[in-house]
C-alpha cells in the first residue's frame, strides 16, 4: 500500500507555523475579549474555565492525530502531534495557574487541602502531573535517552485523558449539567476505543 503521492515530512513541516497560529487562537480571543470588555462580569472564572476547555480541545486533537493519520494513510502527519500536545500542556498550565493564583493566592496549604478535599481537583492535579512529565520528555534528547521506554511512558496520556474527563464530570455534577461533558467525553472515549480495537485487530492477525 505504498503510494507515491504521500505527504513528505517537509511538506507537513511547512504547515507547522500555521498550526502554531491556530494553537494560539484562544489567547488571541482572550485578548480581543479583554479589549472589548467581553470577559463577563467574572473574568477570573471565565479565563479559568476557558483555559481548561482549550486544554481539553488540544488534548483531543492530539489524540486524533494517529487515527486520522492511519485513516488517510499519511504517516507524516504524526509530525504535528508534538505541537498539539504541547499546546494542551500550555493551556493546562494556564488553567492550573489560574486555580493556584486566583483561588488560592498561591498558598500551598490551601492548594493541598483543596486537592485532598475535592476529588475533581485531585483528578485534575493527577492529569496535570502526567502532562508535565510528558511535556518534559517530548524533546528529541529525551526520546533518544528513553528509547523504547518513551512510547510506554507517553501512553500515560490515556490515563490523563480519563482523569480529565472525570475532573470535568465531577465539576459539573453539582448541577446535573452534563451536556458539554458528554460531548467531550464521547469524543475522548471514541479516540481511546479506536486504539483498543486496533490492538485487538493486531492480535487477531498475528495469531492467524
Amino acid at each position: 500500500m505504498i503510494r507515491s503521492n504521500r505527504l513528505s515530512a517537509n511538506q507537513v513541516d511547512a504547515w507547522k507555523p500555521w498550526l502554531l497560529v491556530v494553537c494560539g487562537y484562544p489567547v488571541i480571543r482572550w485578548l480581543y475579549l479583554g479589549w472589548t470588555d467581553g470577559l463577563t462580569a467574572n473574568p477570573v472564572e471565565f479565563l479559568t474555565r476557558s483555559s481548561g476547555t482549550w486544554a481539553l480541545v488540544a488534548l483531543l486533537l492530539t489524540l486524533a492525530v494517529t487515527p486520522v493519520q492511519v485513516a488517510l494513510g499519511e504517516p507524516a502527519l504524526v509530525r504535528l502531534r508534538r505541537m498539539l500536545g504541547l499546546t494542551a500542556f500550555f493551556y493546562a498550565t494556564l488553567h492550573m495557574l489560574s486555580w493556584a493564583g486566583w483561588e488560592h493566592a498561591f498558598g500551598l496549604s490551601g492548594m493541598w487541602n483543596d486537592i485532598l478535599e475535592r476529588p475533581f481537583v485531585a483528578f485534575g492535579s493527577v492529569a496535570f502531573l502526567i502532562f508535565t512529565i510528558l511535556a518534559a520528555t517530548s524533546n528529541q534528547w529525551a526520546m533518544k535517552r528513553l528509547n523504547k521506554r518513551w512510547k510506554s511512558l507517553h501512553q500515560w496520556i490515556y490515563g490523563a485523558t480519563l482523569a480529565i474527563i472525570l475532573h470535568y464530570w465531577l465539576h459539573k455534577a453539582g448541577k446535573n449539567d452534563y451536556a458539554d461533558v458528554m460531548v467531550y467525553g464521547a469524543i475522548a472515549v471514541a479516540l481511546l476505543a479506536w486504539r483498543v480495537l486496533r490492538k485487538i485487530q493486531y492480535r487477531r492477525r498475528s495469531q492467524a
Binding site: A41, E45, E103, E117, A173, N176, D177
Partner: protein
Amino acid sequence: RDLPAQVNRDYLLMDATTPEKDVTSYNNFYEFGLDKSDPSRYAGKMVTDPWSVRVEGEVGKPGTFGLEELLALEPMQERVYRLRCVEGWSMVIPWVGYSLASLLKKVEPTGNAKYVEFVTDMQPDVMPGLRSRVLEWPYREALRMDEAMHPLTLLTFGLYGKVLPNQNGAPVRLVVPWKYGFKSAKSIVAIRVTEQQPTPSWVAVAPQEYGFYANVNPEVRHPRWSQATERRIGEGGFFTPRRPTLMFNGYADQVASLYSGMDLAKNY
C-alpha cells in the same frame, strides 16, 4: 422604568456597590439556561404584565394580589445588601422593595403557619431552561416563618432605582441577604404558607449539597468546595484577592438569634 424609593439608612453598607452592568448580566436564573449570560440574553421575552401573586395556605385572608396592589402596599425603600452566591462569588446591590412581613401580616397567618414557600413562574414558550432536568420545576424555595417575618427579608421590585430587569426576577422577587442567593426566589407567582416544611427545588435534587437553611457560613463547606472566601464581582482587577466570607453574610447581629441552639453544620 424608574422605581422611586426612599433610602433606608438602616440598611446601608460601606462596601462599594457592584456595577449595574454586572448585576444585570451575570445571573443564575435556570429557567433561561445554565450559563450566567443566558438570563440577560433570553429573559427579555418573559411576560411580566399583567402579573399577580397568589397568597394561600395557612392564612386567614388568602387572596390574589395584582402587581399594582403589591407596589402600593407599602412605601418603597432602597436597601443596599450583600448577595453571596453558593458558588463563591458575591455582589453588593441596592434593592428596592419592602419587608415581606408587611404582606404576610396582611393575610393573617394562622396558628399553624410554620413555613412560607415561594413559587417561581413557568413560561415554557420563553424559558428554554424548563426543558432541562437540572431542577424540579416550577422553582420552589422556602423559609421558616420567623425568617420570612424578619425585617431583613425583602419583597423586592427593583434595583438601582429602576424596576427589576427580567433577568433579575421581575416583576417581584425575594431577597434574603443572610442566605445563599438561590434561597431568594425570582419572578414569584405564589406564596404558600404551610405547616409542614416544604422541599425546595434544590433540596429535592441534591439534598447532600443544598440544605433547607442555606445560611451563608464560612465554616460549613459545600461538599465540593470551601465557603471560606468569595470573589466580589466587579471589584479590582486580576490581582485582587478573594474576600473572607462573613458569618450570615455579615448579618449575624440581626439574624444569629434565629438559630440559637441549632447545630448549623447539621442544619446547613
